[in-house]
Chain length 522, copies 2
C-alpha cells in the first residue's frame, strides 16, 4: 500500500515505495494521493498558485469582461453584514463577468491549467466569508447570468441562471400562482443559494435548497461541463451529483444553470401572531403543533428582545407586545381549511398560556403582522446604532439542534449573551430547530462576540446539532465543522474536493483547510 | 499536465511525462489519475482482484460468521423478482455476517488491502441486479444488524441498523403515532433502501430516501468509519455526504447505521378510490389536484389491466370496475379537515368524468380499498401463471418523467407492450410522474421484453425524465444512465468512486462501468 508523503519535499517523493527524484511536479501529484478512502491534511503536498496576470489577459482576449476598478474590487471583497471581513490585501486581482456556461468553462480551464485560484460570486449576501479572496485570486461574478430560461408551469419547475435573485423570482412566479420554497435574506441569488444550501422561514414546510433543486449545470475545475440530471421530480439513477454540489460553497464546481422545484402558492393563507409569557410556553405550543401533525407553512419565533427592537424601529404600523412571539403562516386550498387550522392553532396557543392571539383577516393585516419578521434584522441593527454606538457591528450566526432541544439551546444562548453585557436578539425557525443570534458589538468587543458564538456552537453540538443550519461554513466555521462531523468525515470531503479539483483552484480555504500552514481561518 | 495512460501497460507507465519501469503496481496507480475533474473509462488501469480465500480465513479468525452453504450462496445470488439474474458461476465465494460497525470496518480493511471485491446485501429485494457477484467476491450480509438503536420521539427521528425492515419499523412506530415516509416493496430493509434511494407510494408527500435520512454511519472502502452528520433536521455544514451515499448502490461505502426522519401519523386518514373512463380523464384530475394545491398523502394510478388482474386474483373482498383507477390517501389533523379535502377531491373527480367515487368511512373499508394497491404485483404474477404460462417471468421496471408528461409516457408504453403481444399492467405514483410497468413474458420472449423496456426508457428520456425513479441502475441500466446524464456526468461519478475506493472493491460493475473490457452488463 501507498505511504503517505509528508509535504514540502518536492523533487524527492515516494511513489509506490520507489524513490523518485528530479520530477517537475504539478501541485498535486500521484504521490499526493494516499491509497485510502480519505485525504488527511498532512498526507499530500498542498496546492501552490500562480499570479493571475497571464490568465486575466487570456480571458480578456476571449472577449469576456474583466474589471479591476476600486469600486468593483471593494464590492467583491466584503459586505457590512458578513461575520468575517477580508484582511488587508485580501481582494480579487480582478472580477470576471461571464455571460454563458461556455464562458465559465473557458475561464475555469484557463485557471486550472495555470493554477490560478478563483472565487465565485452572485449576490454577495453570504455571511461566513464565502467570497473572501484569501489567496491572490480572480473573482468570477455570475450576476450577469440572470435570466429565467424556461418555466414549465405544468411540471412545477423552472430553469434559471445563477444570477436570478430569489425575490425577483418570487415576483415572476406570483403571476402564475406558483412559488419557490427557500426565502433567505434579501439580495441572495439562486447560484449562491445553491452553493450554501440556504433555506429560510419556509424550510420546515417546503425544505431547504437540497430538497428544491431538480438539476444543476455545473462547470468543474478543469472546465468540464456536467448536467447533473434531467427534469423528473425524483430519480434513483446514479450518484446524487445535485446533492453533492449543493452546499459545497463553490469548492467543487461553479453552477451556471439550475432547475428548481416549484410549489403551488396556497390559494388561501393567513398569518397568526401569538405572544407568550416566556419561551417555555412558546416551545410547548410548537411541540403540540408538530405532534398534532398540523401542516403550517412557517413557524417563526421572535424573542422578546427582538419585539422590542421592532417596536423601537418605527418600521411597523402597530406596536407589538414585547414578549416571546410566534409568527405562523397557515395556508390551505380553501378558506374553510385555513379557518379549521387557525382554530386548532388557537386552541393549542391558549392551552399554552398565550397572552395575545391575532390572525390576519385581510391581505393588509397579513402584511402588517408578518412585517415584524421582515424587519427583524434591520430593527436590530437600527437599535444598536441608535442606542449603543453609531459604528455598531452585527454578528448574525445560526445553529440548528434536534427540535426538542430548540428552546433550551436558544434560552441558554440568550442568557449567556445577556450576562456578557452584549445586546442581542434572536429569531428562530422553530419547526426546524434552527435559530439565529443577532449579536450587536463594538469593534473592541469582537473577541467577546467570537467567544459567545463559539459557546453557542459548542452547545449546539452537545445537543447533537449542527454548527450551521443555513449559513454554511465559509472561513468562519471550519474548526467547528471538524468538531461536528469528526476528522474522518472532513478528510473524506477533502478527498472528494481534490478528486475533482486536483489543483485546488476553486474557492480555496472554504469549508475545510486545504493547506496545514498557509490557511486562512478567522 | 498529465497524460492519460492507456491501460494494459503494467510495468511501463508514464508518470508526469517521466518513463518509469519495473514497478510492482497496485491496481490503481498515480498515473491512473488524470489531472482533470473526471475519470473517463479508458484513462486508467482498471482494478484487478485477488481470490477471496485468504481474506475469508482472516475474517473467520476475527470471529465473524462466514457461511458458504449451497442454500446461503443461492439466496444471496438471485431473486425471482429481479430483472437481472446471475450468469453461471456468478455467486459469492462466501457470505459474511458482521454484527457491528467495527466488524464491517475490519472486513472492508481486509478486502481493501487484499483487493478482494465485496457486495453488500440486506433484504435482497432490489430489482436491477444490485447484489449479483459479477466478480469473484464476498457478499457482506448486514441483516443481523437489525436493531432499533434509539427512538427520539420528540425530535421525530430514529436511529436504526441497516437490517431493520421497513415493515417492522412501521409496526414499531405505530405504537407512538409516528411513521416513516418511504414504503417500497415488501421485505426491503433500511440499508438497501438507502443504497438505492427508493421511495414508494408516499414519496410525493413525504419524499424519497434522499429527503428522509438525517445521517448515516458509513464504512468506507479502506475501513474508515465516517458519520456524515449529527441529528439536526437540517444543516448547511460541509459537503452533503449523506446525500452522496444515498443512491450510490453500495459502490462508495457500506451503511451501518441510519438516522431517519419521522413524521407524525395523520390523526385521521381515509382512502378514496376513483374510476375513470380512460387515462386522460384520470390525468386531468391529477393535474387539478396538484394545481389546486391539495395536500394528498398518496396518488396511485392503477391501469384498467391492473384492476382486471386484481379482480382475477380473488385476493380482495370486493370486485373493482376494470377501469383506469386512482387510489388516493387523504390525511389530516381532524376529521373535518379530511372531509373538506375529500369533498374537494370529489368535485375534481366528477369534473373529470369519474365513473366511480368511493371513500372509506371505516378502518376496514380503508384496508379493503387500499388492498387493490397492495396486491397489485402479486395479482399480476398470479394472472400470468394462471392464464399465460406457469413458468411466466415478470419484468418490473420504472421510469419517471416531468409530471405533465406522465400520462403520455404511460399510455405509449402501454400501447407498445400491447401491440408487441405481451401482457402487462401498470401502476404509477402520479404525484411524482413515476410509474412501473410489470411486463409478463416467457423466457423465450426475454429479448422482446428487453426491447420494450429500452423503448420505455428512451421515451422517458425524450420527455426529459429519468431511467429510474426508484429502482436504481444496478447492472441493468448502466448504458441508459449514460444516455440520461451524459458521459461527463458518468465520468465524474467514476472519479468520485475511485477517489474513495481506489482498489474498486465495493460492489463492482454497478451504476457505471469500471472496466472497459471486463464489464458485466445485461
Amino acid at each position: 500500500m501507498w505511504r503517505r508523503v509528508i509535504s514540502g519535499k518536492v523533487g524527492k517523493k515516494l511513489c509506490n515505495g520507489i524513490l523518485l527524484s528530479g520530477l517537475a511536479v504539478s501541485p498535486l501529484l500521484f504521490s499526493d494521493y494516499s491509497s485510502g478512502s480519505t485525504l488527511p491534511l498532512n498526507s499530500y503536498k498542498p496546492p501552490t498558485y500562480n499570479d493571475p496576470g497571464f490568465v486575466l489577459k487570456e480571458i480578456k482576449k476571449l472577449g469576456i469582461e474583466v474589471s479591476a476598478t476600486t469600486e468593483e474590487l471593494a464590492r467583491h471583497s466584503d459586505s457590512w453584514f458578513s461575520t468575517d471581513h477580508p484582511l488587508p490585501g485580501e481582494e480579487p486581482a480582478a472580477i470576471v463577468f461571464p455571460t454563458s456556461t461556455e464562458e465559465v468553462s473557458k475561464v475555469l480551464k484557463l485557471c486550472h491549467e495555470n493554477q490560478v485560484p478563483i472565487v465565485p460570486f452572485t449576490g454577495g449576501t453570504s455571511l461566513e466569508g464565502h467570497f473572501i479572496n484569501t489567496k491572490k485570486s480572480i473573482t468570477i461574478d455570475l450576476s450577469r447570468m440572470d435570466q429565467v430560461i424556461e418555466l414549465h408551469k405544468d411540471d412545477l419547475d423552472i430553469v434559471v441562471q445563477p444570477g436570478v435573485g430569489w425575490e425577483d423570482l418570487r415576483t415572476y412566479l406570483d403571476d402564475y400562482g406558483l412559488m419557490f420554497g427557500p426565502d433567505p435574506g434579501p439580495g441572495a441569488c439562486i447560484g449562491g443559494m445553491a452553493a450554501t444550501s440556504c433555506s429560510g422561514t419556509n424550510a420546515a414546510r417546503y425544505g431547504t435548497m437540497k430538497e428544491n433543486v431538480i438539476n444543476l449545470t455545473v462547470v468543474l475545475a478543469d472546465g468540464t461541463i456536467v448536467k447533473t440530471r434531467r427534469r423528473p421530480r425524483k430519480s434513483a439513477a446514479g450518484y446524487n451529483l445535485t446533492g453533492l454540489i449543493i452546499g459545497s460553497e463553490g469548492t467543487l464546481g461553479i453552477v451556471t444553470e439550475i432547475t428548481l422545484k416549484l410549489h403551488v402558492k396556497p390559494k388561501w393563507e393567513s398569518v397568526v401572531l401569538i405572544s407568550f409569557p416566556n419561551l417555555k410556553h412558546a416551545a410547548g405550543a410548537v411541540t403540540q403543533f408538530i405532534q398534532t401533525g398540523l401542516i403550517l407553512n412557517a413557524i417563526e419565533l421572535l424573542d422578546s428582545q427582538m419585539m422590542k427592537f421592532v417596536n423601537d424601529s418605527g418600521e411597523t404600523e402597530s406596536k407589538y407586545e414585547e414578549l416571546d412571539t410566534l409568527l405562523i403562516k397557515v395556508g390551505g386550498s380553501s378558506n374553510e381549511a385555513v379557518d379549521l387550522t387557525i382554530n386548532e392553532v388557537k386552541n393549542i396557543a391558549h392551552g399554552n398560556n398565550a397572552t395575545t392571539f391575532k390572525f390576519a383577516a385581510t391581505e393588509e393585516e397579513k402584511f402588517q403582522l408578518w412585517n415584524a419578521r421582515k424587519t427583524a434584522l434591520w430593527s436590530t441593527i437600527a437599535y444598536g446604532k441608535k442606542h449603543i454606538d453609531p459604528n455598531i457591528q452585527i454578528w448574525s450566526t445560526d445553529v440548528a439542534v434536534p427540535i426538542s432541544s430548540f428552546v433550551e439551546s436558544l434560552e441558554k444562548t440568550r442568557l449567556e449573551i445577556k450576562e456578557s453585557g452584549l445586546t442581542s436578539s434572536i429569531v428562530g425557525h422553530a419547526g426546524d430547530g434552527n435559530y439565529h443570534a443577532l449579536i450587536l458589538f463594538k469593534e473592541e468587543e469582537r473577541a467577546l462576540a467570537t467567544e459567545l458564538v463559539a459557546r453557542m456552537v459548542e452547545r449546539a453540538l452537545d445537543m447533537d446539532g449542527t454548527v450551521s443550519g443555513e449559513h454554511g461554513i465559509g472561513i468562519g466555521k471550519k474548526e467547528f465543522l471538524v468538531n461536528e462531523v469528526g476528522q474522518n468525515a472532513v478528510d473524506l470531503m477533502r478527498r472528494l474536493k481534490f478528486a475533482v479539483d486536483p489543483n485546488g483552484i476553486l474557492n480555496p480555504d472554504k469549508v475545510f483547510k486545504i493547506d496545514p500552514i498557509n490557511d486562512r481561518s478567522v
